[in-house]
Every structure is written in structure tokens, then in C-alpha cells.
Symmetry: C2
Subunit: 433 residues, 2 copies
Amino acid sequence: MSATPVRVALLGCGSVGSQVVRLLREQSADLEARVGAPVELVGVAVRRLDARREVEVPEGLLTTDAAGLVASGVDVVVEVIGGIEPARSLILSALEHGASVVTANKALLAEDGATLFAAADKAGRDLYFEASVAGAIPILRPLRESLAGDRVRRVLGIVNGTTNFILDKMDTSGAGFTEALEEAQALGYAEADPTADVEGFDAAAKAAILASLAFHTRVVATDVHREGISEVSAADVASARQMGSVVKLLAICDLVEGPDGPAVSARVHPAMIPRSHPLASVREAYNAVFVESDAAGQLMFYGPGAGGSPTASAVLGDLVTVARNRLQDVRGVGESTYADLGVLPMGATTTRYHVAIDVEDKAGVLAAVAQEFAKQDVSIQTVRQQGRGEDAQLVVVSHRATDEALSATVAALREMSEVREVTSVMRVEGDSE
Amino acid sequence: MSATPVRVALLGCGSVGSQVVRLLREQSADLEARVGAPVELVGVAVRRLDARREVEVPEGLLTTDAAGLVASGVDVVVEVIGGIEPARSLILSALEHGASVVTANKALLAEDGATLFAAADKAGRDLYFEASVAGAIPILRPLRESLAGDRVRRVLGIVNGTTNFILDKMDTSGAGFTEALEEAQALGYAEADPTADVEGFDAAAKAAILASLAFHTRVVATDVHREGISEVSAADVASARQMGSVVKLLAICDLVEGPDGPAVSARVHPAMIPRSHPLASVREAYNAVFVESDAAGQLMFYGPGAGGSPTASAVLGDLVTVARNRLQDVRGVGESTYADLGVLPMGATTTRYHVAIDVEDKAGVLAAVAQEFAKQDVSIQTVRQQGRGEDAQLVVVSHRATDEALSATVAALREMSEVREVTSVMRVEGDSE
């Protein structure tokens, strides 16, 4: 047991930061025992000293000089500001000044992780970020360490609580997207500007981080095909229900066989999954991540995906690890990109489509529709036809094909004279086909 | 990248060991990249050289001299023999000779972990054991590391696949215990002598390991209250079904307020849990572990709880970590028992009971039964009464009370003249009461 404390600087004191302050205080005896030295909070950088906070920060710790704090020779810097700047500059400065870093900043990691990891390597310090994906759920450490002797094939997750809350509302109440979003905003599950969540930017950043760790390859946010949920309609949700499925916004990272050998596919989009799939029962703002690997098989990790206190739990877990490493003067597991696989574009990724079409109810329509699938070499798994007065509805579920072929098929269907409207197009995931 | 290989000795080449051999070979390039040095299998100790194996072990590696192998100066010893001896002596010798150890041996850890951890401390080497609990599911590392900044309150898990398979069969088919056990044996889910599984010894060892890690306190197998499933009847399972519940064998580790302050309670017994609880949907031989902590809230970890290949995945994950540590000449997280809490006896632990009773159908019986609960200061949550000809059936679910008071109540009920038979007694877990 060392008597010299591990000195910690905190950047940001919002919903996560204030819970970090609280846990550092409430758990201080336990943290000391687990780290092997006292953990001392020596400064908290904030934008405004007089802002209302959820926690009382001890006298003298608050400062608006974040740059001065990270350069003051602390042992660990915890960054929970979020966003690209000034977070990036502060983390880089912290590493240059010899601090280890714990961050929850998914956007920065997914945009420019390479710069951060290079700086950590150069400084010989740790850069840990469990809190950046799926809040309190331990998922990065299992991927990096527990599965280090295995080959991960797929990571399939619900990693954005806001969109899951909205889709869950739409499923249970029949509400449309706008109505469900408003309820999420009223309850504090969605922000006033919900773009980052509903358009899938947040989930895409997390998918990039998950794919990087799972496949030992650098994957950035722009490598991830991204579609949000703002176009998901009540009709899509109802159509899923008829199929015994539910619509979820999924982050999907696959190890695939590309034209030049193994490659990574990473995508975020809404998809129908069968209600019997474990991810289907993930309700409200919870998160869950499925991992499939060669030897372990299917694993699932479930828990609260956001919130100040759960995210702070993940931050503190990392803090204990990097503090222990400091005391031993070693580094934990760093970035691993040795596999250096290519990233497959979405068009070349194989998926399955569910397509609902309003057509004229006359002979030959089904054959004509089937012909459009065949032209793109897409084979059909099931067709359900329901007459409705002069119209009929066709619901087609395809077998696996490239996304390019599938979307070309849908475009061709829209041009058909017999097709009144393509009412729902949604990818299908999570069943064995 | 080091050119000097990490030299690994394997003890045991059964269903787990043979998969370790296979993965070491198939993943050798990845393992080298992840560890930072080649990982070389230098010997495999077996009882009989000519036994049939699932894997071809390279010429010259097999030996019956396990003692010689562990003393030969290898870097890491992987022990997958199981049982107390010779596993304990071999692990102690390995540590004395400077090797780090990876083991899947739950029975040994739960019986005499203290001796092993002391030897690891003395040698300054790692002792890792992720594979000892819940197969491939990363649960020990998250408890030890990811949640190191949090306070764990409860670990509630299905950690024995054999008993879960049997109970699942009983639930879905209405089979009795004996019939379901025979099916499990025929399918290879249960051993010819199923005692360790069905009487809860295996789950109790895992509960001891989980409680030790969760509460930073040494908990051994005999500290764990243990009841198996051989007394679970078709009537119990049917009674659970009527309640909207299902019977599962649970390992339950709680941080509780004892008479002298915080204490640990650890127990393994069948219990009814509501079908809406995530653990209720854990089918067949799968495992799942719920963790509740102050800051993170509820987390769940799910996956295959046994099997050669999943268990080997967990072994290899540990192997990568201890190999990396060897290269850096450091130790990972060791035993943590600083909290040193007392272990509460089962009688003092609070639980809830579901009791089904056949009684004479006459006035005053319900009052008399309720009186027996009141005598022990146990309050009743619900009573359901069903007339059946001359008899009636009462189903009583209690509020929380000490197990002592609850079992005394049941004993008193059995003595009542109005009671023909107590047909089902089962604890209730997993609902919010």
C-alpha cells in the first residue's frame, strides 16, 4: 500500500462528472484499498464556476482553467466533457504531461482515436474508455481482454438508449415517430436537439469503437454506414408486429469475407428482429450487446446504457485500473490494430430486406414483383399477399443478398406501374434465415 | 514484439484441454500479435498417453509426468484437470517454480483458494480463473475490474447448466425430476453420477468465488448454504407456473446488513422467479448472471456456461493477460479480501417463501394457517384458496422474513391437524415484492 496518493483531475462536471465526484468521495476507502493508494481528486475543470451542479464540489477544486489543470502534473485525467474540442487538445496535453487518461468520449474516439492512441503510445500512458460505449455495461474490457484468445465474428447491439426508448414506445403504444420523440424529450430521454441520437451518429461512433476492438482494425465513424430512425413509420412498426418482429436500431459489426479476404463491415440502421431474439426484449432506454465468437459462442451483455451514475461506474472502473497501472509503472492493453482489415462498403454487405408494397389486385402482379427481385439475383424467402378492395398488399422477405442488389430492387419496384406505393422497407436481422 | 516465446504447459487434455490445444494452434498468429510474443505449447500432461482425444496433440508434447512438467521452468501453467488433488499440488509447484497459472478449477478455488492465492503472492505471479465460473461468460473480470469503482450489492445467477437444463425440461414438458435427469444424461448434459450438479455443489463453489470477488471477502464453499434440485417436484414446477413463475437453481450472493454491520450472504437453492425476469428466459444449459451495484444498477451477462470450446475461450483470454503480464514483468489484479466481512448464516438471511398446502375445506382453516405465520412474525403477501372436493388448497406467499422464521413456520404447518400435506415449499426471488 502506497501512502502517496494517485492525483486525479476531472474535466467536466455535468451529469457524469458530478457522479464521478460523488463516487470518489463516497467510495474513497474502498478505492484506496482496491488501488493500493489513496485516490485524490485535485481539480475539477468546468466552464462556469457558478453553474448549478448535482454535487457539492469541495472548496478550491473548481477551476475554469482546464488547460492549466491537465498540465499540472496529475497522475490521471478523467475527461467527461464530450465533443471534439477542447476535449481532444486537453487529452493530448494530459498525455504529453505524463497523465494517464480515462474518457467517456465516443465521438472523439470514433473520429480521431488514432491521434489519441498515438499520443498515449508516445507518452507510455494508458488511455481507457469503457464508459464511451453502452454506459455501465462492461463490454470493451471483455472484448479487449476476456475474448483476447478467441475470434469475434459479430457484435450486434442496441447501444443508444434514446432511440430504443422511442422505438419501444412506437411498438407498445402505436405512436408515430414524432409523438414518441416528444414523449422521450418530455421524460428527459432525448435532448432538445435529438439529431445525434435519432440520426444514428451516437450509435455509429459506438459501432466504430466496438468494431475496432473486436477486429483489431482501425474503424472510424465515417466507415460506419449510418441510418437513423426518423424515417421509421408507424406502418413499419405495425408491419414488424405482423411478422412477429420488432424494430430496433442496431449497431452491427461483422467479420466478413470480402473480395480481397477477411474484411470488416460496420453499420447502424433500424432493423426488424424476431420477438424471440434476446435483443427484442430490451425495453425503454436499456442497452444490450450480443457478441458471437468462434469458441465462446453467443454472449450477451445487458444494462443501463446511459445516465450519470451508470456511466460514472464505468469511468471509476477504468480509473482503478489505470491508477493501479501507475503504481506499478506499467501500461494496460493499448490500441490493437494489427489485423488491419479493410472495411467493406454497405453496398457489398449482405443483408436481408422486408418490403411491404401496395399493388393493384390483379393477376400477374406477384409474378412481376418477383421478376424484379430475380433481375437483381435476389432470392425471396417468403411472400405474403393480402387483398384489400382494389388493392392488394404484398409483403416480401428476401434471402441474403448484397445491400446494393436489394436497394436496386426496391428502386425498381417503385418504378413499376402495378406498384402503388412501397409502404415499408426494412432490413431483417437476428434470425437464422 | 518479443521473439522469445511465452512457454505454456497444459495440465489435462479432456474436453476443455483439447480445445485449448486446438485454439492455441488455430489462433497462434493472432495470439502472438495480441500477446506481443509467440505463445508456445511445450507440454501436455495427461493420465494416459494412449487415451482417445478430440484433438491431435503434436508429437512429443504428451507426458504423464505432470509434476516434472510444472517444474520445468515454463512461463504459464494452464490447469484443466479439475478436482482437488493432484491439481492443488501441481498449481502450488508451478507457482513455486515461477510460472503464472490459469485454472478453470472452481472446486479447488472454492475449497482452498486461500492457499493458492498466498502461493501466488509469495511467488509474485498471476493466478487467473475466469473459466471457473459460467464458462465463456466474462463475469469475473467485470466484477474484479470493470466494477472496481462501484459497490456491488447482489450477484444473482444461473451458473449450472445441467440443473438449468433439467428444470427447463420439467417446466416445458411437465416431466418429473428423474425423467428430466435421464434425458439430460442421455444428451450428455448430465454426468453418470450427477451429484455435483444436481445437489448444488458445483453452483455453491461458483457462488463462493463470485461472492469473494464481489465483496472483497474470502468466502469458501462451506460458507454457502446449499440445496440442490433433486427434491424439486413436478408439483413445485406446476405451482410456479400457476404463479406466473418458473423454478430455477439460483446462486445468490448478497451484501446485507448483519447484526454486526455489513455482511455477506451466499446461498444456492431452487427458487421461483417471475417469468418476466430476464433470468426466467435462460433456457436449456445456458448460464446468466445478474449483478446489481449502487452506481451501475442492474447488469446481466449471458452465454454458454460450459462446454469444451466456450470454457477454452475463457482460459485463452486469461492466458493472453497473464502472458502479457509476464512480458512486462508485472502482476495483474490479485486476491482482494480487504473488506473481510462476516458471512451470515442462512437462518438469519431474509427470504420469501411460497407454500402450497392441502387442507381440509372447512371454515377457520385459513385463519389457523395465517396464525402460524403470525406466530413467527412472518407477514403474508398473498393467499390463494382453491376448493377441491373435501380438500382445499392454500397457496401462501410471504413477505420477506428470516429463513429461520420461514422454515419454522413450515414445520409448524406440517404439524397442524387441518393440514393434510404441505405439497410445495419454495423460495421466491427476483420480484420487487
